[in-house]
């Protein structure tokens, strides 16, 4: 049975009461404990720095050349907090409520409430670190509004909020490196987890420069390795983002929560062709003034695709502003999942634009006529410029083209209220866990969650575990390390001696297409079953032969990729399994069989108000599905409607 360890008592008192009940490690004894933190993004860097400050010995790992380059750096829009600086009716309860509702009622009340509760301290902490948030002329902090909320609670630093928050956490981390409490291992990739007596006691890593396979022992292991959106090959994630650490933990017994919950962002720059390596997000704020449309007829769309006519030549009456037509009250501002799905529907109907037919227009003509070009430039100038750099089109003169792209994974390692996985001593924080966003994440809440986990939750909860753990260290000569290292070496050897014609990237692209087609914006039973078969076949082909080059004992790009893709080829199938069993639509997960007569997502609370927790049973066995029931005592479940 899964024990989520949610404390008793009223919602608003659970966390304070829990903190009081947690066991403490005496300050003088903290130095007797070693903690491994894998990942130096917002979650990992904030946790590692805080552990160091408390006096623990920390080893922190990342695959980039510097901790400062973790993918959190790319977040643009902002970070939420319930400060209510605008006096517009915000509160901890409202932030909690918006997040639960935005997640389509598939997250835990207690976790989300705690997130809202600690959100304010995050802003205080970051300001004290010297994070240059945007300010008003009076010198106080500025806020903007973001999707899914009716209050202004998003703090931001230009379009570079993630960068500034991460540099803040990185500075705190750097200070601990200087004191010697944190040791950094950059260009190092975790390839396996080591269990001793059923507890997480270490990891096996590969040094990406020398190829050295190394063993690291500790009293506890924290995974902060980010999301697995790159399973789709094309996504807004950085090139190196991967699912390996979480997947290896899963195969050692950590259950995986809601793997099929992925978020698709509606406003990305469309795919330009087969040479494309990644997708670029355009801020959602553009939908405040841009109008989304496609031509009314397929014939006209085809002419556009061939470049025979220009979008500006299409008359008003020949344009279908479909979001305004279908959703008169929300119009272009419907939530991310609704906007994405409708774009897909238009393109499926043959009305897509761009050479590929896989794009819709986002048009600023009306806004420019109404407000003037200068006003639009002041609001979105940098975004327009970025768009023009990438596409060579001038969005002041011709409509932008956008298409949805994979952006975030709500699913991840299952954790209890203490952020511990089902493996004792193994924690998962940030995007790597499943915890706070349910079926759909609201804008500006991933940064909040990463920092909440790292600064204000795990420093408390890990102490409770360590206080009950003996100081004894496990030597890296222990047979468990021996065995884990051997498994890693075997995997590497198979790949390096494999003889195939297809490169790792070619496999990855194929997997991505399968996932996007059948487990992307809309899913159905037939397609998912087909995808499952295709992934199994592709995986078999992969292990029968993939083209690598070189040896392990050097920098080896093909090997790095091949190891990550091997794990994606397994994780992808679990995502499909999860999508198959959840025969409701909710949040980012749209099952075509479960829609309202108007074609909107239909949630089934009687059957599916639970977290799907998948338990590994061996490579040749189907994974076992366990359910954590979700209990709602403080919010009333309603169907979302944006008509």
């Amino acid at each position: 049975m899964l024990d989520n360890k949610i404390p008793q008592g009223p919602l608003a008192e659970k966390w304070s009461q829990h903190k009081f009940n947690l066991k403490l490690v005496n300050p003088a004894n903290k130095r007797k404990y070693d903690i491994i933190v894998v990942g130096t993004g917002l979650a990992g860097a904030s946790a590692a720095a805080s552990f160091g400050e408390l006096g623990y010995n920390v080893k922190a790992f990342c695959y980039q050349d510097s901790a400062r380059r973790a993918h959190s750096i790319a977040a643009q829009g902002g970070i939420n907090a319930a400060k209510n600086y605008k006096n517009d009716g915000d509160s901890i309860f409202r932030l909690f409520y918006d997040t639960i509702k935005g997640g389509d009622y598939r997250s835990r009340e207690a976790n989300v409430y705690r997130l809202a509760e600690v959100s304010n301290a995050i802003i205080d902490q970051c300001v004290a670190q010297g994070v240059p948030f945007a300010r008003e002329y009076g010198g106080l902090l500025d806020n903007r509004s973001f999707g899914g909320a009716q209050v202004s609670r998003t703090f931001y630093a230009k379009g570079q909020t993630g960068q500034q928050l991460l540099l803040g956490a990185y500075s705190a981390l750097s200070r601990q490196v200087k004191t010697g409490k944190v040791k950094l291992y950059t260009r190092n990739e975790m390839l396996d987890l080591v269990l001793v007596d059923g507890k997480a006691r270490g990891i096996i890593t590969r040094n990406l420069v020398t190829g050295a396979i190394e063993r690291h022992s500790a009293h506890s292991v924290v995974l902060a390795t980010g999301g697995y959106g790159n399973v789709f090959f094309l996504s807004t994630n950085a090139m190196g983002c991967n699912g390996t650490a979480a997947w290896r933990a899963y195969k050692k017994g950590a259950q995986f929560g809601n793997p099929c919950f992925t978020q698709i962002h509606p406003t990305c720059i469309p795919v330009h062709g087969t040479q494309q390596s990644k997708l670029t997000l355009m801020s959602e704020s553009l939908r405040n003034d841009g109008r989304v449309w496609v031509p009314k007829t397929v014939e006209m769309a085809q002419k556009l695709q061939k470049g025979e006519i220009k979008p500006t030549e299409i008359a008003e009456e020949d344009r279908d502003y479909y979001l305004e037509r279908i959703y008169p009250s929300f119009g272009n501002l419907v939530p991310r999942d609704v906007a994405s799905r409708n774009a897909k529907n238009m393109c499926d109907a043959g009305k897509g634009v761009n050479e590929t037919g896989l794009a819709v227009f986002l048009d600023f003509k009306t806004a420019i006529e109404r407000d003037g070009e200068d006003v639009i430039r002041a609001k979105y100038g940098n975004l327009f410029q970025m768009y023009e750099k990438i596409t060579d089109d001038n969005p002041y003169k011709t409509p932008m083209m956008i298409y949805p792209a994979i952006h975030y994974t709500m699913g991840g390692l299952w954790v209890d209220y203490n952020l511990m996985t089902t493996i004792p001593g193994l924690y998962a924080i940030g995007e790597c866990n499943f915890s706070d966003h349910g079926g759909n994440r609201l804008g500006a809440s991933a940064l909040m969650q990463g920092l909440a986990d790292g600064y204000f939750v795990i420093p408390y909860t890990i102490g409770d575990y360590l206080a009950q753990t003996s100081y004894d260290k496990v030597p890296t000569s222990h047979p468990a390390f021996e065995e884990a290292e051997k498994e890693v070496r075997d995997r590497i050897n198979i790949l390096l001696t494999s003889k195939g014609e297809k490169t790792p990237d070619e496999f990855h692209k194929e997997l991505g297409l399968i996932m996007w087609e059948y487990c992307g914006m809309a899913r159905n039973e037939e397609g998912l079953k087909k995808a499952k078969g295709m992934i199994q076949k592709l995986r078999k082909e992969y292990w029968a032969g993939v083209k690598l080059i070189g040896i392990n004992e050097e920098m080896n790009l093909t090997l790095e990729k091949a190891l990550r893709i091997a794990d994606f080829l397994e994780l992808g199938e679990l995502m499909v399994d999860d999508a198959l069993t959840r025969t409701e639509s909710c949040g980012g997960h749209f099952r075509e069989e479960s829609q309202t007569p108007e074609g909107e997502a239909l949630r089934k609370d009687d059957e599916f108000a639970f977290v799907s927790c998948w338990e590994y049973q061996g490579d040749d066995q189907p994974a076992k599905l366990n359910k954590e029931e979700l209990v709602f005592e403080n919010v009333k479940l309603t169907q979302r409607s944006y008509k």
Partner: protein, 257 residues
């Protein structure tokens, strides 16, 4: 987006097996590149070709591919991050290149004693991390912090601090400088803290420690050529260097560090 046909180029690429090996230029043709491809996507095509032929791909650093992580670092046709103003290599597109006359493009790593080559175009920039560790922070622990609005900061000051903080730590400033000086990078970090009230308590101590570490890492002296500012993909201004110099001399003169 365009309906052009593919472009062809000849790449002259620096190959170096490891830090100890002697490097050399090698030429590789790439064909049928979409003008909409980014520079790094063009290198992906080349690498897939090489791998199919059983040759070792060319190594280069990259991650976010949207100009913010600071990982990409190529010296193209004599310029860090190649042609174009205020962009990183990953934001560079092939339509910026002339594919006539064989379309030769020369690609080298950052060259600086403090950034040793690891392999091909990949260099070791951990010197930047060590400079940050020397003092690039406000010495506070997590928790127990007064309300974020307790200290108002004039918007102009906050904006200036943000302009300095925008540095992505790519090292193009060092690669652009004939002395391989790291002044622009270091001054950007020093300035961010020096401008904000939160950074005042450790102002002197910080600038001395960071400059000292910079010297220890073997970066060259600044002779005010301004090449760093001209090539910085984030438009970090020389003003920061002037500010850091003031802070430094002020700190060095005072006895109370």
């Amino acid at each position: 987006m365009s309906n052009h046909k593919g472009l062809n180029f000849t790449l002259k690429v620096w190959r170096q097996k490891n830090a100890a090996a002697k490097g050399e230029f090698k030429e590789y043709p790439v064909t049928n590149v979409s003008p909409d491809s980014s520079f790094l996507e063009m290198l992906d095509i080349m690498n897939e070709d090489l791998l199919h032929k059983g040759e070792d791909p060319v190594y280069f650093d990259h991650d976010c591919r949207e100009g913010i992580c600071g990982m990409c670092s190529l010296f193209i046709n004599g310029r860090p991050h190649g042609p174009g103003e205020e962009i990183t290599v990953c934001q560079l597109h092939m339509r910026e290149f002339n594919s006539q006359d064989g379309g030769v493009i020369t690609i080298e790593p950052w060259r600086a004693a403090a950034f040793p080559v690891i392999k091909d175009l990949v260099v070791d920039r951990t010197a930047f991390d060590r400079i940050q560790q020397a003092g690039g922070y406000v010495s506070i622990n997590t928790g127990g912090i007064p309300d974020a609005n307790a200290i108002p900061i004039p918007k102009e000051i906050a904006d200036k601090a943000m302009d300095a903080a925008t540095c992505i730590g790519c090292g193009a400033c060092v690669a652009a400088c004939k002395n391989a000086s790291a002044m622009l990078f270091v001054s950007a970090k020093v300035s961010q803290f020096s401008l904000l009230p939160q950074g005042q308590a450790e102002k002197s101590r910080r600038v001395l420690a960071m400059v000292n570490q910079m010297d220890e890492e073997g970066f060259g002296a600044c002779t005010n050529t301004g090449a760093c500012e001209a090539e910085c993909p984030k438009g970090v201004s020389l003003e920061n260097i002037a500010r850091m110099n003031r802070d430094y001399f002020g700190a060095a003169l005072s006895t109370e560090h």
